[in-house]
């Protein structure tokens, strides 16, 4: 049987936790070893899967196209950047009209700003338009995975939790509250019976 390198799992993480992360690391000296983003709840993420609402998109490239998308989940905003090396994702961003539900598979990227803070974004492998059912399912899944990570945070054998305690000064209970609030939000929309996707508004220009 062939021994292909194992594919990295796509973590489910809400925007707020994702953006709180800043520490990246490798687990071997090999140049091609995967780079992981350390999630504050104590997990390593080389890939993420997220579903949210694309609220704005803008070509921020100078000469070549370089698309930035803002994708909103119940907790915050993911920033997604796609240029010439992500042609499929870039063309999807070019063609989509916000607001639209999108699913993104991609790699975490960190960028240190002039003032020393670290911005986290997603370099997409794929972006596809999806429906509200898929979005809701993702919210439930992301909440469950987050709560599981929080629950395992105190485990002695949890090396990434240990790393998170060393690297971050964050209270993981906040992420538990955040995940529960996200689910409560879903429950409320259920009761209001307004879980259908809003019609895309084609005329509103994005503001920055």
């Amino acid at each position: 049987m062939s021994q292909a390198p194992t594919r990295e799992v796509a973590r489910r993480v809400f925007a707020r936790e994702f953006n709180d992360a800043s520490h990246t690391f490798k687990e071997s000296d090999d140049e091609r070893a995967p780079v992981y983003l350390l999630l504050p709840t104590g997990e390593r993420a080389n890939r993420v899967f997220l579903v949210g609402t694309l609220t704005e998109k803008e070509d921020v490239g100078e000469d070549d196209e370089y698309w930035r998308g803002r994708i909103v989940d119940p907790t915050g905003t993911f920033f997604v950047y796609a240029g010439q090396y992500q042609p499929d994702a870039a063309s999807t961003l070019r063609e989509l009209e916000p607001p639209a539900y999108v699913a993104v598979v991609g790699k975490p990227r960190t960028y240190e700003t002039d003032d020393g803070s670290v911005n986290v974004s997603v370099r997409p492998e794929s972006i596809t338009a999806v429906d509200s059912v898929t979005r809701d399912r993702w919210v439930v899944e992301a909440a469950q995975r987050t709560l599981e990570r929080v629950a395992a945070f105190e485990d002695e054998s949890n090396e990434y939790a240990r790393m998170a305690r060393e690297e971050y000064d964050l209270d993981v209970d906040d992420y538990r509250a955040m995940a529960l609030a996200a689910l409560e939000g879903l429950d409320e929309t259920d009761e209001l019976g307004s879980d259908a996707a809003p019609e895309a508004d084609l005329d509103t220009p994005a503001e920055h």
């Binding site: 999806v130 809701d136 629950a151």
Partner: protein, 309 residues
């Protein structure tokens, strides 16, 4: 020497269907090589077997190795292993090649495996749903997938019993996070019993060939904890994407490019949640059945469950 006597008995047994040998004459030939000509025993045995193979006009492959293994069909993990099994013909498929007499799925208590019978072996036909005692099968491996081949020496005896075929199907679910290269509208090698997928019009075994169009998806389902590689064959790809092979060919023809088919499939399926089940072959689950997980989520139930985590 008793050692030679045992070897001689083995050889006689191996050829029992083909030649009328006596243990004495075989032992005498072995003895001559080993004790007269100082040939090592293994080499002597090989040489004697070869001469009998010539005499019987047989290929080495056609011989059982004496004492076949009895291994569950779903537990086969060796290439070129000789087997005896009692198995049910679960499915018969359409042979893709004229040299194949029958191809399909055999099942026993452990699960199922593919079988092939060749025209040249001139065997009686197996019937779907019937149970047989099959002796002298040989296993075959291709890219980590095992199958069994019937051959000229295979004996087939119908048995009057039913077998509860084991369910070795895997069920996995998650978001479809990738559709890998080699998906969409592909071409397969038309050579007998090959069906390899062509790369740039070339088969890795048969070189440049005129391929036959097929559809498939090599996908990755990811539940946030683990990844599962899955393969949709033509039928399930058509059901998943709503695009038939003919429509896919038309799309590719219009675009003068076959990759538009996979692109279209990605647009329609990536990022959605699916549950699939089917047999595991190597690292892949071969999709027999699938469903899109598109029931509205029960937020209240999810919340109750979440509070308990």
């Amino acid at each position: 020497m008793t050692d030679l006597h045992t070897h001689a008995e083995d050889i006689v047994a191996q050829f029992s269907d083909h030649l009328d040998l006596t243990v004495d004459e075989v032992e005498e030939r072995l003895d001559n090589l080993v004790n007269e000509y100082r040939v090592p025993v293994d080499e002597a045995r090989r040489s004697v077997v070869n001469s009998y193979l010539d005499e019987a006009d047989l290929e080495r492959d056609a011989l059982g190795q004496g004492g076949n293994a009895s291994v569950g069909l779903a537990e086969i993990d060796q290439d070129e292993q000789w087997l005896d099994v009692t198995a049910k013909v679960v499915e018969l498929w359409e042979p893709r090649s004229d040299s194949v007499a029958q191809v399909g799925l055999l099942g026993d208590e452990t699960g199922t495996t593919k079988f092939v019978a060749f025209e040249t072996s001139d065997l009686p036909e197996l019937e779907e749903g019937a149970v047989y005692r099959l002796e002298n099968l040989v296993t075959d491996e291709y890219q980590g997938n095992f199958s069994v081949k019937l051959n000229r020496t295979t004996t087939i005896t119908e048995v009057d019993e039913d077998i509860e075929v084991g369910d070795d199907a895997e069920t996995v679910e998650g978001a479809l996070v990738d559709i890998q290269s080699g998906s969409g509208l592909i071409k397969r090698c038309p050579e007998e019993d090959c069906t390899r997928v062509l790369q740039n019009g070339r088969c890795s075994e048969h070189g440049s060939v005129e391929g036959e169009f097929d559809l498939r998806i090599k996908g990755v389902l990811d539940d946030g904890e683990a990844v599962h590689e899955v393969i949709f064959d033509r039928e399930s790809t058509e059901a998943l994407t709503g695009t038939t092979l003919e429509e896919a060919k038309d799309m590719a023809m219009d675009a003068l490019d076959t990759t538009v088919v996979a692109d279209e499939m990605r647009t329609g399926t990536l990022g959605r949640y699916y549950r699939v089940s089917g047999p595991q072959f190597g690292r892949y689950v071969l999709v027999d059945e699938f469903e899109r997980l598109d029931d509205p989520v029960d937020a209240e139930a999810a919340l109750i469950e979440a509070r308990s985590i």
